[in-house]
Subunit: 389 residues, 2 copies
């Protein structure tokens, strides 16, 4: 086959699952600002008129959970019952428990002493990078994020005042089988919540002209590119009223858009003693540095952990035949240059900062803001040197 | 590299995320028994003493949601506040809304007329099969499920009366890089909730002798296999008291254990008009039949949809070089032999039956019970013939 299709999707900050993720991470940030030793697993459910905060939190921080939830919803833009959700009028139920002392004993053991804090759970995590975009992210997920980010920008600055917070994008790319690189865009799907006044035709044209075309590289759009804009025909009801949202339910949007496997653990609301989050960030850091170092054009790493144990139970690296040095050497270099014990990761990536709110929409990876320490390529030079390149 | 490691995990029916999945699917089944045209998106959150039922349901079925939630928790085995959760004593809050009429108009259009019911959402889904086990599932996830299933069996039949419902398993396999097949087991992690009376040493021995060894193929266990049993040292607090559970938070356990990518959509609680579920089932059906037909030893399919549109926006097939006929032909055969429009899938796999409760623990794929119609290899012969094999 000389070409094949690959599809990824993204959602805007007003999507109900992302509303839940952002509330969870806003609560985590508020706690970390006061208490770096807190243990946080903050889950959120949002539905018509309702926010439920649950999970396990052990902290001495004094945080007004209800206010944080309301402020997050306000920032996102649900500020009017017309939109089906209003930060002022929704119910917020709080049901946090403390971290189980049985789990804490496994994680705390050795904390402070050396680097042998145990992993906060068992599990498997993947990291990935490839040379399809300058940020070393796969093309479809990278641009799917940019589409919904643009939707939010035009909504917030008032250029398209009939846009409302909830939106989804999807990009199907044509890949060249020889090079493994994207060569054109086959289909763009974009659904956006809107005010009832706007008609379907005006909306479609504005979305294509003002969102799709300014964002997607012109040379990737062809005469054959299909545009499916609000294909249900109407999307006035949206956000938590149209669809119940839960923390951790956009884990493929959060990562590589399906271009790499996923271990299954969610990120938002979890402090970095939870390897679901910190080891997935570390995996991205490792994979990105390997590609940035020129050791491979495409790199996937899997790590796994046992609860209460610091050292990963497994580390493996796949470069899909794109490696410029032997794979065994890459595995060796990973072990030599990256400390993948939970505390090693937390220190190396400086993860005990209140930086998580920003991660909770538009992707945890491929971001260029300074908070995203796992996107740095500061190990690339040392890796190159050590590989003899 | 002559070998590499790969890790997958599973959880028992008592794991809080699985409690939520099972409640969601029990509610779906109860509705489908009375109303095949219902639209169901049932989400569940469980936490200490609390069950929240939310989501979107449009049905004329008359279902006692609270009782179904309590019955499910009882069946799983949380029947005593000693275990941190009791079906009799927990609070159950019900907050279902109806399906958004804006979504319904996209899905309903053409319903009944022909096969052009629109997809219930946009999204991407993967299907996968390989020849690592007789059920054409990857080895690590297959056996990770069997471990926790065995834990539940010994708990329920009283052979190990100190076992409690919550448990997790994880298997790290050594793969031969040449053949791509598993050659031994490097590490087994098993954590099980237990009664406070049992000491760590007795528990460890019993778990290894009565759960691990009877389940795992003896020839895969070597002198180097490591066993990490309850590595936190104590796991008395468990279930929803130890960890908040949400529907759709074990999507990698539900599918291929990370051996294939995932599109991100959850299964439990969703009626099959939601392609997140039905098209992932169809993807498995396609991939399994291709492997069963001998067209490839390993097969991955990606499909994608736009909301309100019947035909997939993309279909692609990867056989990782294991194909016995050209890949283009396989893609052709898929299009010829499988109708991947939502209604085509529902009819072909007979998905409007109350079969979902069984899927909500121990994996949606690789199961041999008759309800799992997507595991049939009834297309293999026709595919072989059409491929000229
Ligand atoms: C289609 S809903 C999922 C199904 C839903 N739970 C149900 O019961 O029908 C998923 C997402 O699609 C988007 N959405 C909601 N209403 C829509 C509409 N009328 N047209 C297109 N997209 C919509 C929102 O972003 C929403 O979170
Ligand atoms: C470790 S918990 C996740 C972290 C948790 N939310 C927290 O805040 O610490 C994930 C799963 O591990 C299992 N688990 C709970 N307590 C455990 C213990 N003491 N030892 C080992 N595994 C445990 C349960 O299956 C639970 O659902």
């Amino acid at each position: 086959m000389s070409e094949y299709l690959f599809t990824s999707e993204s959602v805007s900050e007003g999507h109900p699952d992302k509303v839940a993720d952002q509330i969870s991470d806003a609560i985590l940030d508020a706690i970390l600002r006061e208490d770096k030793h807190a243990r946080v697993a903050a889950e959120t459910l949002v539905n018509t008129g309702l926010v439920v905060l649950a999970g396990e939190i052990t902290t001495h921080a004094n945080v007004d959970y209800i206010q944080i939830a309301r402020d997050t919803i306000k920032r996102i833009g649900y500020d009017n019952a017309d939109m089906g959700f209003d930060h002022r009028g929704c119910a917020v139920l709080v049901g946090y428990d403390k971290q189980s002392p049985d789990i804490a004993q496994g994680v705390n053991e050795g904390e402070g002493l050396d680097l042998d804090q145990g992993a906060g759970d068992q599990g498997l995590m993947f990291g990935y990078a490839c040379d399809e975009t300058p940020t070393l992210m796969p093309f479809p997920i990278y641009y799917a994020h940019r589409l919904v980010q643009r939707q939010s920008e035009l909504r917030k600055d008032g250029r398209l005042p009939w846009l409302r917070p909830d939106a989804k994008s999807q990009i199907t790319c044509v890949y060249d089988s020889e090079t493994g690189l994207p060569k054109s865009i086959d289909t763009v799907v974009l659904s956006t919540q809107h005010a009832p006044e706007i008609d379907h035709k005006t909306l479609t044209e504005a979305v294509i002209e003002d969102i799709v075309k300014p964002v997607l590289p012109a040379e990737m759009l062809t005469a054959n590119t299909k545009y499916l804009i609000n294909p249900t025909g109407r999307f006035v009801i949206g956000g938590p009223q149209g669809d119940c949202g839960l923390t951790g339910r956009k884990i493929i949007v959060d990562t590589y858009g399906g271009a790499a496997p996923h271990g299954g653990g969610a990120f938002s609301g979890k402090d970095p003693s939870k390897v679901d989050r910190s080891a997935a960030y570390a995996g991205r850091y490792v994979a990105k540095n390997i590609v940035a170092a020129g050791l491979a054009r495409q790199c996937q790493i899997q790590v796994s952990y046992a609860i209460g144990v610091a050292r990963p139970t497994s580390i493996s690296v796949d470069t899909f035949g794109t490696n410029t040095v032997p794979n065994e050497l890459i595995v060796e270099l990973v072990k030599r240059h990256f400390d993948l014990r939970p505390k090693g990761i937390i220190q190396q990536l400086d993860l005990l900062r209140p930086i998580y709110g920003k991660t909770a929409a538009y992707g945890h990876f491929g971001r260029e803001e300074p908070e995203f320490s796992w996107e740095r390529t500061d190990k690339a030079e040392a890796l190159r040197a050590d590989a003899g390149l």
